[in-house]
Amino acid sequence: MAAATLGLLATIALEIQYKTDTGAIGFETWRPVVYAYVLWGVAIGIGQVLTRGEDGQRALFLLPALLFTIAMVIFPTLFGFYIALTDWNLSSFSGRRFNGLDNFWQMLSDPYYRNALFNMVLYVLAVLVEYVIAFGLALLLNAQIRARKFFRVVFLMPLMLSPVAVSWMVGKSLMEYRFGPAATLARHLGWENPAFFSDPITARISIMVLDAWTFIPFMMIMLLAGLQAMSREILEAARVDGANAWQTFWQVTFPLMLPVSVTAVILRIIFKLKLADIIITVTSGGPGGATDSVSSFIYREYRDRSNVGYGTMLAMAYLVIIIVFVTWLLKFANRFVRNVN
């Protein structure tokens, strides 16, 4: 059986050989390689069970997911690093050419990319405001209220709805300058000229609001679960000791909720770092690239200019920044939680 898997590996190698030599008995597309990979995976599975018995059966639980993820992540990422070093433009006929670090130097002096990165910082900071609102809502839902289930379903709604449909109907219609109800309301409140997306700063805030509307329920639900898991005795004890509601919150509830809060905020930041669809549909980066997130900027770089090589370089740089940032964030959060408790 081990021989069989070895044989399959060899066929893959052979096919790659055919293809890269662009001649001989090659196939039309690379698709046979995909089939070969799947077959190889199956053979490995069978081989494991037959050769290692019980241990093999155990390995079989993990193998599918592992083989799938490796094929779908590791290989494309490595391939991406290669593309990033070429001047590949899908709309030009000259094909790809290796150009070393040119894309990298171009990236360093690209004001739009820097602006997009700066925007990501702002967008991530907005998570803190979202957190405060979500915490407030969770407290409300946790209070002694009637129709709790109704409110919970209603509050959860925004998360379910397609961000694209929502950003069309809210961003482009509800906040439309001439007739949108939000603009009308803003006029009544004394804002002379309620154009939500023409001034860079207002446009950024509008994007943040739209995104917050979608994702606040996510944090709210996690925080609510945390509140409900808290033991009532501690709160009772605080009251018996004569603490008022304000003191109880800051000295009992909030510290106890810290681990859940940190998890919720970190997960939310991770989702925020992927922010793209709302920006693409509502402003497509405008005015003048002011609202661009990194993802939406790269999306347009491809859509408008088919510039695969440069776009990939931007994406790879972003990936490195994200990994460093999230690693730091996790470390910092760990220490933070431990220090407070």
Binding site: E28, T29, W30, V34, Q57, R58, F61, L62, A65, L66, F68, T69, V73, P76, T77, F79, G80, I83, G136, L140, I145, K149, R152, V153, V154, M157, P158, M160, L161, S162, P163, V164, A165, V166, W168, M169, K172, S173, L174, P181, I221, M222, A225, G226, R239, A245, V260, T263, L273, K274, A276, D277, T281, S295, Y299, V308, A315, M316, Y318, I322
Partner: protein, 305 residues
């Protein structure tokens, strides 16, 4: 009243006035936020029944401000008077709709199968691949969550072109599976951890194999968790836009992409746009209301220890 007092705090009973103000404040805030959550949905729904004048004049309340009209739905071919006539827009819509259904159900199912297996293996057995131990493998899976779609998008665009998976549903399913796999593993690990190991040990003593014990004993218990993970994955796949916009063009286009590409030559037809948006969000709104319990279960997995 004496029965109820146990529910409220001491200070609240001492001063009924402040108790009432706090009630008013709580319900006021609740209703206010409910309005914020629901108004955009209301706006979408009513706009689909408006004519051009009603949209540009910002009319809000049907039958008072404006006379509802099937205009938006007629342009989709879904109004009562046009439902039995042939309509290319409706065919297009159903095609996109089916694409969305197939990709999201397909990806969620695939992710549930391989994700649950991996999560089960990771919670029950100790593995070693070279220098990778269980914790490293778990971290490897969960770290995929950090990976932004944009990093994979362009390499996949090129690779899919080579492999012939560009603009196919299979291609999208594979990518969406990758996208939701970490979340599924996260939820299912939590789920399997809450099932006592003794159950399987008893099953093994009774002569079941490892896989037999998993399929017959553990799976049925973990089913609610699987449903929760499945629904959460469904929601994410259904709403996904970024990959779909990049990797599909004519055949495998999904609903969000269709919604996003609705700009006509004479500006936007708000009524048909709204009808389309309503149709795109309706399935999830129904799921959200009917299966809210599972959604919450999925989202809170592992959050509270």
């Amino acid at each position: 009243m004496s029965v109820q007092t146990t529910e409220y705090t001491v200070s609240e009973i001492r001063s009924p006035a402040s108790f009432i103000t706090s009630r008013v404040f709580i319900y006021g805030a609740l209703v206010f936020w409910a309005f914020i959550c629901l108004f955009p949905i209301y706006w979408t729904l009513t706009t689909s029944f408006k004519s051009a004048v009603d949209v540009t004049q910002g009319h809000l309340i049907p039958f008072v401000d404006f006379q509802p009209d099937w205009k938006g739905w007629r342009s989709l071919g879904l109004s009562p008077d046009s439902i039995f006539q042939t309509s290319t827009v409706r065919d297009e819509f159903f095609k996109r709709f089916m694409n969305s259904v197939i990709t999201s159900v397909g990806a969620s199912s695939l992710a549930i199968v391989i994700g649950s297996l991996a999560a089960y293996g990771l919670t029950r057995y100790r593995y070693r691949f070279a220098w990778f131990k269980n914790e490293d493998i778990s971290f490897f899976f969960l770290s995929q969550l950090i990976l932004p779609p944009v990093v994979l998008a362009l390499p996949f665009l090129v690779l899919y072109r080579e492999v012939g998976l560009l603009d196919t549903r299979v291609g999208l399913i594979l990518l969406y599976t990758l996208m939701v796999l970490p979340i599924v593993i996260w939820i299912m690990r939590d789920q399997f951890n809450s099932i006592p190991v003794e159950l399987e040990e008893a099953a093994l003593v009774d002569g079941l194999s490892i896989w037999g014990a998993f399929l017959r004993i553990v799976m049925p218990i973990a089913l609610p968790g699987m449903v929760a993970a499945f629904i959460l994955a469904m929601v994410l796949c259904w709403n996904e836009y970024f990959f779909a916009a990049l990797l599909t063009s004519t055949d495998a286009k999904t609903i969000p992409v269709m919604v996003a590409s609705q700009t006509g030559s004479q500006g936007i037809n708000w009524w048909s746009m709204a009808a389309l948006a309503t149709a795109a969000i309706a399935p999830l709104a129904v799921i959200g209301i009917a299966l809210e319990r599972y959604l919450i279960m999925g989202m809170t997995a592992g959050a509270v220890k």
